[in-house]
Each structure stands twice: as structure tokens, then as C-alpha cells.
Symmetry: C2
Subunit: 118 residues, 2 copies
């Protein structure tokens, strides 16, 4: 079920490249990448799990409530991340010129479906 949902996300967003669902210790449950995607989505997940840890701590220190989502843009990609419960996150990597708003919307609607299966 996860594989299909991840594929729908990547293929449903202009500029979508790859997607994964990972637990917060950096273990991927499932991933999907378009053929020829220039980044390894599992490596992205592992690198960003460190970033997510730093953000969770920052949100706690600031008493800003639970961290929900983040986005990181570099010269070559945009990665959207949304937390799924306390222990998992969903990440979608897109081209920098991809449809960021659509990606954000699709992540938001996908999260409850993933949460229901975990």
C-alpha cells in the first residue's frame, strides 16, 4: 500500500522526483523514485532525519507546539517533509522549479492515510 501511495505523490506533482516514508531513527519503510532521479531518496531521508531531530528540539525549546512540517530548498532540489505521528516522517523531493504548493497540499492530505496504516 505504501509503495502505491508514494508513487501517487511523486507522479502527482509537477517536478516530483522521489518520496519516502522513514522512521525517526533513519530506517526507510518504503521509498519510490522516478527513473533518472538525480538524488538517492534513502540518503536524503537519513540526512534529513538529523535535521528533523534539531527542529523537534528547537520547537520544544521555543514552546512552539509540535513540529509538523518543513521544507528545504537548495540549488538543485526542494525537499518537503511532514511528520507522521511521533515516530515517522514523509519526505518528497522535487526539482527546484516544481509545484511547491501542490506538493505541500498532497503531503498534507496523504499523511492521515499513512498514519492510519502505521
Amino acid at each position: 500500500m505504501f509503495k502505491d501511495a508514494l508513487k501517487d505523490l511523486v507522479e502527482g506533482v509537477d517536478g516530483g522526483l522521489a518520496c519516502l516514508i522513514m522512521d525517526s531513527s533513519g530506517i526507510a519503510l518504503e521509498s519510490y523514485a522516478k527513473e533518472g532521479a538525480p538524488f538517492d531518496i534513502d540518503t536524503i531521508g537519513v540526512e534529513f532525519s538529523v535535521v528533523i531531530g534539531a527542529i523537534k528540539r528547537a520547537a520544544e525549546m521555543l514552546e512552539a507546539g509540535t513540529a509538523r512540517e518543513m521544507a528545504v530548498g537548495t540549488e538543485k532540489m526542494v525537499t518537503l517533509i511532514r511528520l507522521v505521528g511521533d515516530s515517522y516522517f514523509l519526505a518528497l523531493t522535487m526539482r527546484p522549479d516544481g509545484n511547491f504548493g501542490k506538493g505541500r497540499f498532497m503531503m498534507r492530505t496523504a499523511v492521515p492515510k499513512f498514519a492510519a496504516e502505521l
Copy 2:
């Protein structure tokens, strides 16, 4: 000059709360907060400078090019961050229901003006 530019950013975006320009070691050059803003923008800057360090390392590991911008959403706020050259960043904190797209646009257009003064 910085104070006025920061004020324009906060007041120019629906839901804008506070804004700062900080160097990457966590020292604020200048900040501006709306009266009654529920977060201390200098604390936000210090906390997020750790996150930015983690993101820069991740972008390097992934060979994804230079990190440019990030956004973090929690239950109570959204913070947009844009790097200004190698050593500074601009952060804007908004209410979660603020105009995210406008904030992102205004950050993008403001960065060259800050960069020219640094």
C-alpha cells in the same frame, strides 16, 4: 537600514510576527518584533542556527548545491529562513494561518538588499 527593512517584512505579510538577521554563529545583527508577538525572535534565531548547520551539512553530503531557504511549521508558528551569502540568514516568523507565499516572496526580494549591506 536593517531595522526598517525588517519592519517592512513583518508588517508587509499577513500574520507576520517577528523577523531577524543573524550570522551563522547565532549573533543577531538586528531584529524586529510586533508588539505582543508570542515568541522571542532572538531565541528563534539561536535555535534555528543549529538547524541551518545540519541542513548545510545535509546539502553538502547530497551534493544538492548550496542550501538557500527553509521553512518550519509547528502548531503555533511558521518560520521562513533564507540564507544571505555564506555567513548570514534572514528569518521571518508568522502565525500558522499567515500568508506563507507572500512571506516567501518578500524574503526572496529582500535578501539582495541585505546582502548588498553586509
